[in-house]
Assembly symmetry: D2
Homo-oligomer: 347 residues x 4
């Protein structure tokens, strides 16, 4: 750890599970964190890792040397509330970092507002979840290059480092930041834009695996007796669907030597090893914003994203939001064909 | 009605609601129908419209003059059973017509089998549903052209006739069969192939309306209070979603002067006028084969049909068949982010 | 025509083909139109139908009695420019109507701005295209109910009228506005919201027909010789794809007695009668905003619209916007399998 | 290597790049391979790795001890041709292994045919591509359990082995076959069924990344001048799309610490490091069967696979197969709105 890195000081607001782990990782790398959270216990835990606790946002600002750097790790809905308190306390040349899951459009608005106070704004998309403490955090960074440079030791401390994956053939010499796990992506919004798309991709990957495993799961469809009525599509060749696959083992299998190995698959294998029936899950899947924003940005750009939206809509449907559309179709079927829908299943 | 048409005689097996109405329409056009159904009352009703009832398939064949024409109007699953009984009773030069919803691939197999007996096979895709009695039946016909020609008076009798729609500008002179509502589409399978695609399109049209009306229905999303947690996507501008649309009136409105007017919309308007909330429907939508076959044929052809499959998959999902896929995604979310899915809605 | 209707006076800015036809229709119904357009000939044509031409926006305002009604029929991009000139000339109690294809979000902004001048804003989604002169215009209306009431004679004059379609069974008595072809949908934005969804549905309907006809078109896939290499998916049963369908006749056929009859199908039949190969079209399909906005609104609402987005993305792809995505996939295929893409077709 | 494994002997037909590498890997593990290929040089190369070359299929069978095991590694289209020659030469108790990319439906047919000769049939889906020599081959196996057991040393020799990935938490003790990279999936067809789904998932994963990167690529859409006409959708807020992302670095970045790291992403990073513009690729993406079969199986099962089919249809479209559908839509647009499509882009 160089002397430079040791001297970096950071205010840090928001000590949820992710925030706490990030502070811990930075403290271990010699970065001094002055932390605040409304939960006293979280502050206490941070101090046990060497951080300095502040009693309030005012106190936090007071404890920082100029130019100040304040990293926010907050739920999206709270960011503006905290900024309203924080920004009036800051001075020209200070920097605010939003490391949460903000929409990049909000970044542009905030950066402009802070700029009026001559405060720099940096948006950082952070991937890593509950695993970041151990694996490090992948960081996508947007904002003024000056602020990025000043904060680079913090990004480097949080990042997984080059050894977290084999170097790509054709990459050599001193590893670039991207190879260590952080990247300056461009002016404000760039960090959260790249993170947004990252999560959009994540939705697509998850759904691809999920759909495929569902096909395996139902490969015994030919074993089930099937009502022969006008409301049930016939299965022409039931003899082709007589398989009961060991799905947990299949997932484990694909981790080695196959084209579809991934970290998501690694995690799925662990979950499946516990109970491949996944009976504990109800089938409702939440979505949290980034998938929506990715689709909306793609539409603005005129870029087709059928896979990403299919994944997104699968979640909407799992939340029951297709109901009225289905009722409309049943009404039509009733009207033109006298069809009475069956009531098992969804009904 | 010409003398020719008056002389056509037809055996007719399968007197469900649709079959009965077809027999009635043909009798009215001067075509003699000899009918059979396992339900005595159905036979009795057909005779009240002038048809001759047969006691059995043997009896039906015996009552027909050679060359015989036997029209089957049966559930898909029963066609082969009846053919097994019927074909041995027929003679070279006779014709069997399948007017049900068979997969065209079955037509090819059956046509070949009947051909070995020198019996011709005609496949007819019939659209019209419960409305056919009144509106006439749209017929898509495949098989030997000789058989088509012989049966044309029956097709013409069943068809809506040219007056059922304004003639297309650029069409003039003696109306073609297509303009009257029946069409010789090609060799065996052609009739059911075109009907299959017709129904595939129908799925897409229905879903297009249903999705749009669902967007209208949820245009009041901004009025609902929304949990602010990590498992709920934020609605950034609730003020944009404050509408409670009179959906039944909107559907009625679109019937006149708009680009999206259609017979399906006409029917929807009637249903909506009764109860636009459609609360009587559970949200489960059946599918009956043709949508599946259309998608599978498209895939064989290498033709992209994203709209038709989206419509099809919406039905599968309404039947609950996305369950395991969703459970897989929840398991992944738990594994990488510690997410606990919410349990309202689908749960 | 009642005395009331005869007395309504309307300023009308924007005499494109649609605007001119609307003015003509209103003049015929006894509504006095004072018109302006930057093209002198358009003004001249309007006067030939009885309208009064204005030399400028100022002149138009001067020629109207208070309270004034000014209907804009302008390209989306020009609306704000004209409003900037027009609004300062108006007085409390006047009304501006935007009959173009504005995004309803713009309506909300504009309504608020005009409200500060005590000028009412009415948004009207108008469907009818080049056919409106003859068929009438389907109108979806949003804004203050007071303004709607005052303008109702104009809406009625433009609308197709109840005779444009058979009345829905269960509707009786004095026809409602919806049955005549115009509807008050709610407060500002409601009109363009409903029109936006209308167009979203239109995209889905068009794509459903187009995909189905493409499946018919390629039903001869089994006749083509097929390279047997690792880059070409095999067609397992070429004997199933030997059909050359008379697509123009099929489209004509479906107009009578089938479930999928519609006005769009009527139009397609006319086009197909000319040349069912459609060789004159290159395959590039434009989109114009409403489809995008519908999808984005659905995403905000959390409503799944897989069919509508599939239709939208099909257009994006037809514009070539899938290029980089496809290049990425080819790069992956090269990397994991040494695949060299074939160069015919798209290449 | 145990004495048992050392004694396994295998006939191997088909020495393409993949076949040769597999033979080499087995020879190194002490399995005796007797090989045949119509290309003499391929046979020669195999002998340089210790295999015994046969001059013909007859010769190959003659050189094997009973009970014989013959592994086919052939293009799909050739498998039946070779089986026609091979099977008459085999005896009761012998085994044929198909390690190619056969449709599992073919496996069922072939297994039944071979069974009449008391020859066992084993279907093995092999993933690994050009990387298998180095990484090992992931193998999904179907067929009689007896044959699987006998051949297990070969599967183990080809497999990557447990060290190819970190063991899943909760897996302990002697590694299971799945953890080593091969798995007995069930009776005949099971191996190729699982491989089919594996490839279906692969299509989905690839498209998810590709779409996301395309959104990044077009994040500069706001910089481009945009025609303001009725055929071009407006970009309402161009200031939101001003980014030129370093896409190659973003891909590299995501390899460490992010949720979407995968082997496919590793490979993409290598390709991108060479030229992130990917200009060398034309945009045409082939598909090779498994994606189609997965979708068709899902449809038979009634399982929704919107992501997998979206990925598949993207490839069809890249091959130009959406052409007629797009022409139909342009014809409709012309008919209802007088729209003339623009000709740049796809045209």
């Amino acid at each position: 750890m160089s002397a430079d890195k040791a001297r970096l000081q950071l205010g840090f607001i928001g000590l949820g599970r992710m925030g706490l782990n990030m502070v811990r990782r930075m403290q271990e790398a010699g970065i001094d964190c002055v932390v605040f959270d409304t939960h006293v216990e979280a502050r206490r835990e941070a101090t046990s890792h060497g951080a300095t606790a502040a009693e309030s946002i005012q106190d936090l600002v007071a404890k920082l040397d100029a130019p100040r750097n304040v990293w926010l790790m907050l739920p999206t809905a709270v960011v503006d509330v905290v900024l309203d308190q924080l920004v009036p306390l800051l001075h020209a040349g200070d920097t605010v970092i939003d490391g949460g899951n903000s929409h990049y459009v909000e970044d542009l608005r905030r950066a402009e507002a802070l700029n009026r106070h001559q405060v720099m704004y940096v948006d950082v998309g952070v991937s890593g979840g509950v695993w970041g403490r151990e694996r490090g955090y992948c960081q996508m960074i947007g904002g003024p290059e000056l602020a990025y440079k000043r904060l680079e030791p913090a990004f480097a401390a949080l990042a997984p480092g080059v050894d977290a994956a084999p170097r790509s053939e054709s990459r050599s010499g001193e590893p670039s930041p991207a190879e260590k796990g952080y990247l300056y992506c461009g002016l404000n919004g760039a960090g959260h834009f790249v993170k947004m798309v990252h999560n959009g991709i994540e939705y697509g990957l998850m759904a691809a695996y999920a759909e495929g495993l569902n096909v395996l799961k139902n490969a015994n469809a030919g074993k089930q007796t099937r009502t022969a009525d006008a409301e049930t599509a016939p299965l022409e060749r039931p003899e082709l669907y007589q398989y009961d696959f060991p799905i947990g083992d299949v997932v484990e299998l694909w981790r080695r030597g196959s084209v579809i190995g991934s970290w998501l698959l690694d995690l799925t294998a662990v979950e499946m090893a516990r109970d491949a029936s996944l009976k504990g899950y109800t089938g409702r899947v939440s979505d949290s914003g980034e998938g929506r924003w990715t689709a909306q940005a793609a539409i603005d750009e005129g870029v087709p994203v059928p896979v990403l939206t299919a994944a997104l809509f699968g979640r909407f449907t799992s939340q029951g939001n297709d109901l009225y559309a289905n009722q409309v179709m049943s009404a039509m079927r009733h009207a033109f064909g006298g069809h009475q829908e069956k009531t098992e299943g969804k009904g």
